[in-house]
Every structure is written in structure tokens, then in C-alpha cells.
Amino acid sequence: MPKPIRYLLYVAVIALLAYNSVYFKKLDEVKAGSAAFDAAAYAKDFWEKKLMPGLPKAVELGVLTTQLETEKDKAFEQHSHALGIGNIRYFLVKGQGEVTDVSENEVSVALARGGGKAGNVRIATEYVFGNAVRDASGAIDINAFTNSMDFNNVSAEINKLIREKVIPPFKSKVKKGDRVAFQGAIELNRGHLQLNSIEIIPVSLQIKKP
């Protein structure tokens, strides 16, 4: 083979290897990729596409507490969700009742139609924190998140939505004696069940007209 053709072949092979070995990407794109997770957008999407459509499946709180008193394990198995292992489990619940007290941090409600030991419940209007709403629906998979802080931030953003959208219109109008309907999430400890201090993190609140 003539020398010029041989060299040309060498150059072509080297160029081909070099072209396939190196690629360039804007640093902005790389940075955007690492910080791609938008917890606020994820929370909004979760709220609209998973939580709200799943609300009809919420268990009536009075029914749940009665079942918890008689067949605790079955009640936890049927209605609770949690993303890890341990005693803390979450339930998506609904109910209605009469407001017995409005305080700085919560609204106390006497459940309609009895309700066993959970005759009185508290709707949180100040301390809206934790994972109750994120985890109660069972619609989120922890393994879909590569970073646990992203996962924690989803809870924070969901709670922010509640603080900004659900609570203000309710808190500004609610007063003692009102009839209210609620949907929300509760946290119960399977090992040390306390049904006399149930706190509801609200997802939906309505004041019923008399």
C-alpha cells in the first residue's frame, strides 16, 4: 500500500476514535441536570394527580377508630401506609362534626355519629409538618427518589400547599358551633395506639351551611 494512503488511513482511524471518545456539553446543562429535581412542582403534581383523585378512598374516621378498637392489626393492614418499617403508620381519613373549640394552633371537632374514643379530634391549623399527607395515600415510592433529601423536600412542599391553600380560608371563618367536613391524614403508632388525641393534617376543609 502506498505510504500516503496508509498515513491517510491512520489519520482517519485516529480521528474516528477521538470523535467517539470525547464529547462536549455546556456546563450550564450539567449543573441543571444535577439540580433538576423540583420538589414544589412534584408536590403540586402529586396533589392534583394522585392525592385528590385518591381522596374518595379515604376511610371514615369513626369507622376506622371502631375497627382499631376491635381488630387493630386488620385495620392497620387495610387502611394504613408507610414507606419504611416501624410503628409509625399513616391513614387517609374523612369525617364531619361540630366545632367545639378554635384555638391558636388547632380546631377541635366532636365527630358526628359518635365515633367511639375518637369522639373528639383536632384539626391542625398551625403545626402542619411531617410526612402524614405524603405517605398516607401510599401513592409515592421511595425508591423512585435517588436522593433522600429530595424525598423530604416533597413533604415540606406538600405541607406548604396545605398552609397556603387549605388552612387560611377555613381558619379565617371557622367558629365554635360550626358544622365542618374534613378530609386529611393522620399518624398512628401501631405499638402504642392512642385514639384519644388524634390530630388531622387537613387536605380538604369545608364549613357546612346551617
Partner: protein
């Protein structure tokens, strides 16, 4: 004759080789699999408890196990991993020394075919370990933060004493706490310092903070050892009755102090659950299971005076 000698040597080698392989196979079938339990430090009773529970569960499942103490030193941890791999350990139950510094050890073991199950502390590399069984420190500290705000009635000056700055748990706890407390502008953090999860260091840190800020109302500590150290400093300065101290772990002396009204609250971790889950995962791995969750959070429970009777050191009352 020459051919005959070669023939005899070849025959001898074949028989000896077959015999050797036979012995090895017999040994592999009869001897139980071995599990190495590599723990960051055995100077802290919490980690001793974790290691002992992992060892007990491994034994119950029929495996041999040995505990290795890394003494909070990644170089020592690397030696333990090298020894475990070379000595033919079949799995490693691992409590890492450093979230970043321990990654290479995990990767080396997994590459050598030895599954690694992290307990309590994580490594910052998704998919590096076979599975990570971790306390949900963030959520536990959200609960502590909420109780902190309630008991301080949304106002006052407070101090935060952090654990080791290279450990993810330190920041998960701090971030969980601040995700609640920072909502309340009436609560002002006047100092935030690390005491490396160490009781004596926490006492020194607290003593020096008290000189600059004698009027604090609360202290949040990243673990119970530091909470006890901070409490000691407050006792020495005569402020123990006024300043509310919060810890995290569920250590024996803090559970007792909550009962006595000295410490306000702690986040109860369940090292036994983590250790047993890690050993059970190893057992399932040996039996062929491969689809383990990347991270398995273990719930942390808030322990305070009105529910402390339900708890004992490092877990629930039996």
C-alpha cells in the same frame, strides 16, 4: 521407565487434585457462611448495641460472624474490608465511618461479590451498597422540632449542638429540626457548634457558649450523649431548671432523664430493628434474593414525659 515416571506423576496430581477439590467442596457445604460486622466505633454504647444485635441475629440465622471496630477511622475501616474480603466473608453488615470516605470500601466489597448492607449510617452513593437500612432521622427531628416549638411557645433563644460534620445523620437531623423551627421568627439560634457526637466535647462547647449567651431557653443536640454533656454544663452553671434540653437516639441515661424531668425529649431510634433487618437481608441474599430496596427507612419515635413509660434504652419496653 521414563514414561512410566511421568505417567505416575500425572496420575498422582490428578488424584491429589480431585481429593483437594473434594475437601474444599465438603468444607464449603458444611461450614456456615460468614458475616463481617464492621462498625464505625465501639466507644459509643449505641454502636456496641447495634453490633451485638446484628451478631445475635446472624447467629440465630445460622451464620458465623465477627465484629470489626473501625475506631472512627476510614483507613482502619479499609483494612477491615480488605481482611473480610480476603478471609472469605460472604456478606458485610456495615455501619460506615464517613458518608463519602466509606464509598470506596463498599464498592470494592460489592465488586468482589460480597454484598454490603449499611446500618444506621448511609454512604453517599446510590446503588453502591446492596441495601441501606437507615433511621429516618429527618422525620424524627421534624417531630422533635414541633415539640421544641410547642414547649418554648414559639419564642426564645436556643443553641444547636451538631454531631460529626462529615456524617449525613448530623445534617438530616439538623435539617429536619430546622424545617420546623425556622418557621418561627421568635425563636433565635444564638450558636451552632459541633461536638462530634461526644459527651465531654458537648459539655465543653456548652460551657463556652453559656459564657457568651447566659440567657438561652433551649438546646437541641444531634445525639443523646451530647444532650447529657450539655445538661451537665447547665447543671454546673445553675441553669438546668430553666433551659430545655432535647436529644436524639434513645440512650439509656436520656430515657431515665426524661422520666426524671431533666431532659425534655429524644428521638427513639431502633438499632435492634436495623441490625436484625440487615442480617435478615443478608440471609435472603444467600438464598438468592437480589431485589433489595436501595434505602429502607426505619421510623423514629418522639419520646417525652407523657409516653416515656412505653420505652426502654434503644427501643420499646419488652
Amino acid at each position: 521407565m521414563k514414561t512410566s515416571i511421568h505417567y505416575r506423576i500425572a496420575l498422582f496430581c490428578i488424584f491429589f487434585g480431585i481429593g483437594f477439590i473434594g475437601c474444599k467442596t465438603k468444607e464449603s457445604n458444611d461450614e456456615p457462611k460468614k458475616i463481617a460486622i464492621v462498625v464505625s466505633t465501639l466507644n459509643n454504647p449505641w454502636f456496641v448495641f447495634l453490633a451485638q444485635k446484628a451478631e445475635a441475629k446472624a447467629k440465630q440465622l445460622g451464620y458465623e460472624s465477627k465484629i470489626f471496630d473501625s475506631q472512627n477511622n476510614t483507613a482502619q475501616e479499609t483494612d477491615h474490608f480488605d481482611n473480610a474480603i480476603a478471609s472469605g466473608y460472604d456478606a458485610i453488615l456495615f455501619n460506615p465511618t464517613d458518608a463519602d470516605g466509606s464509598i470506596v470500601n463498599v464498592k470494592n466489597a460489592v465488586a468482589a461479590g460480597v454484598p454490603v448492607f449499611c446500618m444506621d449510617r448511609e454512604v453517599n452513593a446510590n446503588g453502591a451498597a446492596t441495601s441501606q437500612i437507615l433511621s429516618d432521622s429527618y422525620s424524627g427531628c421534624v417531630a422533635i422540632g414541633k415539640y421544641f416549638v410547642e414547649t418554648l411557645n414559639k419564642k426564645g433563644k436556643y443553641v444547636e449542638i451538631l454531631g460529626m460534620v462529615g456524617d449525613n445523620n448530623t445534617w438530616n437531623r439538623s435539617k429536619g429540626f430546622h424545617s420546623v423551627v425556622d418557621f418561627y421568627p421568635g425563636l433565635k439560634m444564638v450558636a451552632q457548634q459541633s461536638a462530634d457526637f461526644d459527651r465531654n466535647k458537648a459539655m465543653d462547647v456548652m460551657e463556652s457558649i453559656l459564657q457568651a449567651h447566659p440567657d438561652i431557653d433551649g438546646v437541641f443536640c444531634g445525639n443523646d450523649a451530647m444532650a447529657m454533656g450539655a445538661y451537665q454544663a447547665l447543671v454546673a452553671s445553675g441553669k438546668a431548671d430553666r433551659v430545655k434540653v432535647f436529644g436524639f437516639d434513645g440512650a439509656e441515661d436520656v430515657v431515665k432523664s426524661i422520666r426524671d424531668g431533666k431532659i425534655l425529649a429524644t428521638g427513639m431510634q431502633f438499632p435492634e430493628v436495623m441490625a436484625q433487618t440487615a442480617a435478615t437481608f443478608a440471609d435472603e441474599y444467600f438464598k438468592g434474593k437480589r431485589d433489595f430496596p436501595g434505602k429502607m427507612p426505619v421510623a423514629v419515635e418522639l419520646v417525652k414525659k407523657d409516653n416515656v413509660e412505653n420505652y426502654a434504652a434503644y427501643g420499646e419496653k419488652e
